[in-house]
Symmetry: C2
Amino acid sequence: MEKWIITREGYEPEEYTDNGNRFLIGNGLIGVRGTLEEYTADKMVAINLAGIYDKAPGQTWREPINAPNAFFAKLENQSSILSHKQSLNIAFGLHSRETDYENATLRIERFCSMAEPNILCQKISITPKGKPVTLICGIDSEIWDINGTHLTDFKTSVTDTLRVSALTSEQRIPITVTERCNRTADEVREIRSSLFRVFNVKEKLVLERIIAINSELTPGSYDEKLSAHKKIWERLWENSEVKIKGDDKAALSLRYSLYHLHSIAPRHADSLSIPARGLSGQTYKGAIFWDTEVFLMPFFTLTEPAVARKFIKYRINTLGGAREKAAEYGFDGAFFAWESQDGGVDGCTDFNVVDVFTNRPVRTYFRDKQIHISGDIVYALGKYIDWTGDKNILENGGDELIRACADFYRSRAYSRPGSDKLEFTDVVGPDEYHERVYNNAFTNRIAAYALEKAGYDCKVREPIFKDGIVEQFDGYFNLEDVSLAEVRSRLKHPREYWGTQSGVAFSTQIIKQADVIALMHLFQDDFTDDIVKNNWEYYEPRTEHGSSLSACMYALTACRFGKPDLAYPLFMKSARSDLDGGGKSWAGNVYIGGTHPAAAGGAYMIATQGFAGLSLQDGQPVLKPSLPEQIESIKFPLIFRGKHMHVNVTHDKAEITQN
Amino acid sequence: MEKWIITREGYEPEEYTDNGNRFLIGNGLIGVRGTLEEYTADKMVAINLAGIYDKAPGQTWREPINAPNAFFAKLENQSSILSHKQSLNIAFGLHSRETDYENATLRIERFCSMAEPNILCQKISITPKGKPVTLICGIDSEIWDINGTHLTDFKTSVTDTLRVSALTSEQRIPITVTERCNRTADEVREIRSSLFRVFNVKEKLVLERIIAINSELTPGSYDEKLSAHKKIWERLWENSEVKIKGDDKAALSLRYSLYHLHSIAPRHADSLSIPARGLSGQTYKGAIFWDTEVFLMPFFTLTEPAVARKFIKYRINTLGGAREKAAEYGFDGAFFAWESQDGGVDGCTDFNVVDVFTNRPVRTYFRDKQIHISGDIVYALGKYIDWTGDKNILENGGDELIRACADFYRSRAYSRPGSDKLEFTDVVGPDEYHERVYNNAFTNRIAAYALEKAGYDCKVREPIFKDGIVEQFDGYFNLEDVSLAEVRSRLKHPREYWGTQSGVAFSTQIIKQADVIALMHLFQDDFTDDIVKNNWEYYEPRTEHGSSLSACMYALTACRFGKPDLAYPLFMKSARSDLDGGGKSWAGNVYIGGTHPAAAGGAYMIATQGFAGLSLQDGQPVLKPSLPEQIESIKFPLIFRGKHMHVNVTHDKAEITQN
């Protein structure tokens, strides 16, 4: 059972950032950062709500809302800590902490109910060691906000329950938090819109608190709710657990990744997607990126296609925003948001980077030139149908989406006089360090895919090869060919941005992340293994891997040409991204950290499509294993066109069986 | 006669930069900065040679060569200066200085012979006031070089003449300086490749020195050479003098401008052009810019068409370089150099700006995207033929040039699917603060001109009007509309560059220089006076005038819509650019100063095409005067299709008469 539990021993107050991500729990509607119960706004406590976006006063963009923290609990007059342990049971998303103070022992567990997505549950157990102690718990309204206070017009009510309600500042969306406790408090304190129960504890006391966010409380005890919660988790694992034998660390790391994906899947909604930083806060405006389509879809398509369908429906339902964006730039069809918020509004600004030398916002081209996003969505839809057979979605908006994306590309394209080839000028590919390039191979191919799916008779300029290497974009090979170390040594400030016209990478062949290599994974049939290998060897040393989306693509392609040993460390890096923490969390004084769902989804892709070599051939799943030495076998279930199947891959055999 | 003499009284050693430009003399082959005779390398002394480019050791680009300074002269053990006067007679390019020291009076005059372009002449007169003094004069080899030492392998020879010769460091081009003096020195000193005559002077001594650069000395005395020199200047003025009545300051300023243009015109060569900073040093690599075609051609076309023809021949003879540049970028035809050096090699680098915050070179797009240059050249050729009738040049390379430029544009263009309109994507127009724009109105029009001249059946996308204002490029009106003062206030460093992605102007409507307004002057027939006025009023407050090419275009168009009062200060600014000095001379520690021939040529354009309103209509010169109040009349000669004509414009009448 140990392999299902993540633990940190010892109290390290400075680790609140990484622990907040590492120990996150959630149920798709609500994400709760893994901060300790006594923490407040300054330690980035967040009860993050999926799909609710609003502007703080004076803010020019929307971002997600955090609810008042009903998990707040604290031993008043805390004495010295003798021992401390924080842990997370990833089998069913149960967060625990146990702290031995000089004067009392405090143990708290909590979970976000998978059975009732609006319900959070907490059990507090406190045992004084002699003198009585005072325990305070309740709803703390001093909550973390990165860019200004979102909630306003607070109201409180105290009956047998505590209730704090507020409105969001822009759209005045009501946010309510209601709590009931199995024990009557000695006192209820109201401090600036926060409500706390106060218990004078003389002997061991166990509190069970049931919390409802934006709904009424439901009946049932803590244990009853935990039991219903566990049942759902059991079913989730049944359909998704990847069993890795021979490498416990890899096994746990991957299991942790899948735990995280399950915790943030929007099962409660008909049409919703997953933000780039999941439900771990307001970073990146809580927006939906291409991460969902390229890095999250495979996991959900194979294990829980109903969730994958919600991602597609989200895009179909935000076609309006995508059409408006295309029109804004003078194009036809649908140009999806680079950072999609409700209604498909693009949260991405034209100035997405701040110059560390001048502290001035710098014009970037993520919003207006990263046009591969529309094709990424068509691609995800296509693959979703290939695997699930759910053609019904085409009639329900899918066909319209494909046509709209193809219309966008057709109107965005140019041709040279006398040629019928469409070219995509002035784009940004996955490698954002090189803005405004021509005929980015990735972008051209994904646009061609969309045009082809729409049945349009268009030819798109093919990639240019030089000595077997695909040129990432026109003129890439003319850029300075210099080592990553050399480029890094040119930095004059540790946090300066590598891209834009004056950045260190811009005029060199150093790229941010997989670009040609991402192309070679997504369009496997276009390239022979030899070509993939040559390109890997060319581009990998030139890649900074400055994005969590990069490692996965390099790992997948390395498996393909028979080098799983090259893939293995990239797999571990992807799978352990949030477990290990320590990644880039701050850009200047802006928090850009949080969890990395795309890396988690990427880890699943490496295990299944890379190590097990799963793909579709002639419409049927096939295996071409490429197992690293450390791993004896990989087994996992999958759903193919409604049929439950099981993959079993060892170094000697590879089989797909139908249940 | 006073109105022909420029004078500065008092010794101001710090003014050596401005005075070097202000008092420049030249004959087209040689330019001599207006520095004092005792100055040496650190005071930017230069005997600048037209058309010879070479690299200093380790330099990655070529720049012009300065010859050893044979005008060097110095009173040894200089005592205090009692009075000092430096002056320039612009009637025939005679530079004089007179300095009254405590112990002697020194008077020196010098000129660059217009009759014999390789010959320089100097007359030194020294009068001791009591005790004998020592005068040293000779050939000083310690010469000014901005970016490293160009001359090497020095040799000296002393016979009845002094001779210093050297080789350029890259191409080993021989540079020789030979001097004879009418008096025998008491001593000849050789100090590190420099040769000096030393005179112990007891009573008034007059030395006459004749110097030959890169040729043998020719016979003749100082006075004989001066007389031949003056004769040529007389003829030049006869064909070019613009007489402004009622405003002596304006008259002198314009005369000074024309003096400068005459001094740098390459009469000695069959095919040569004028660098952006004339013959005043190595700034901007001594390269030829579009300045020649747009700002210098009108003066020479009307007053000395043989020189204008040399400019065109220079472009015809550098077609090879332009073809190579086009091929380098994958295009057909001729893409002329942005900074043209010998053979048409582009001296412009991809990194033409240094970031003041990081001291790193920044990628700029002047070289690869400022494609209007090829059209500017076709335009100049077209106007040259319109005025001179010299169709013969078409058979001598002109037709080939036009076709090559049109081929370039055709291959550089794109069309949207289903449209036959050519668009020019990703260009830089005259306003360099906005790089990589689409359908810059100026660029599209000048490209259309070239295509039309070549007889190609192409349509180019027309400019977009909004409320009567031409949009400078697609999307310009969406940029932040903010005042020039506001943008200036955002600067964080006095020398930071306004353009590039992270510069203060880039995302605003603030532009560097006339762009739409330049278009409206060059293509007068495309726009009504009302439209010109509206556009002037829109763009002028949004123009930084960060280039000396800007004022002229605004002045010309203001005259057109009947506001010469708006034009007048811009005229004075253009005409007095080098007289007043004080302009931007340094960018970081790089000298970017020097003379401004384009501003001088612009002053001529304003006086003739603006104030006098000269243009061609139905192939005949016509006048539409727009005289400022201050000016009573303007008279000037011109040559139209070989016929000498005379313009006379007052507030009451305007006439063109044939001689």
